[in-house]
């Protein structure tokens, strides 16, 4: 009786502990960490970090495109149209930067971050599209 009682919780705690590092996120619950608040629950596959770096890379790509846009806009000297195009591309780049920064903050917020919202994805894509429209206007 007492052996069955003691093996019950022992088994369940073992089962709860073992899938923690490898299994689905159900095993890694931050609630049970009573004594170690300094050690946050970490995804062993580093998925949030990888996603964060993917956002950084994408921001870098946007920066390169924006720099090329500014270079194209100011090639013929500081004409009014060139300055306007320059400002628009700068604002688009800034918008993308803010989007990426917010998402990175959301990813860093907890061990199990929220899904990307379609609105934010669409906003990021719209930034790229507007930059392409800007480019088409500058090129032709």
């Amino acid at each position: 009786m007492s052996a069955g009682d003691s093996s019950g919780p022992g088994d369940s705690s073992g089962a709860a502990d073992s899938p923690g590092p490898v299994g689905p996120p159900g095993g890694a619950d931050p609630v049970g960490t009573a004594g170690s608040p300094a050690a946050p629950v970490r995804d062993p596959g580093l998925q949030p970090e990888r996603t964060r770096l993917a956002w950084r890379r994408t921001t870098l790509s946007a920066t390169v495109a924006a720099v090329l846009a500014v270079r194209a806009a100011l090639r013929d000297g500081a004409t009014p149209a060139g300055v306007v195009a320059c400002g628009v591309c700068g604002l688009l780049w800034l918008a993308f930067l803010v989007l990426a920064h917010r998402r990175i903050r959301a990813l860093a917020a907890g061990p199990r971050p929220d899904t990307l919202t379609p609105r934010r994805a669409t906003a990021a894509v719209l930034c790229a599209l507007a930059m392409a429209v800007c480019a088409a206007a500058l090129v032709s």
Binding site: P24, P25, D43, G45, Q47, P48, R50, T51, A54, W55, R57, T58, S61, A62, V64, A65, L68, A69, R71, A72, R75, R112, P113, T115, L116, T117, P118, R119, A121, T122, A124, V125, A128, L129, M131, A132, A135, A136, L138, V139, S140
Partner: protein, 130 residues
Amino acid sequence: MIEFVRNVRLWFAPELIREEGGTPDYRFSLANERTFLAWLRTALALIGGGFAVDQFLPHLRWGWRVGLALALLAAGVLCALRAVNHWVRCERAMRRGEDLPASRFPVLLSLVVAVVALVMVLVVLAGWAG
């Protein structure tokens, strides 16, 4: 094409996606997000390529230069639109537990890039010769 229009509504309405199916493992959603970002980077690179053709091939005839640049920019626009559309479709398929959607777009894009690259080589060689 009709499905594309239907998906466009989903881009702006997160609650419509949340309504169906169950929430998938967050790691799958993050992987989907990274794929989306990789496509978005491809789109941004194509747009940057459009700028670069315009700026770094200044001796090209105007028509060729603008044509190549606009082709690259159009490819970038398509790529960006497809990125968000594919992301929405994958997200929905994962929520419903269906297979991920197949796509002919990678083949299409690589063919377009190959053709543009070939044309660029020919144009640059002709520019040197002439």
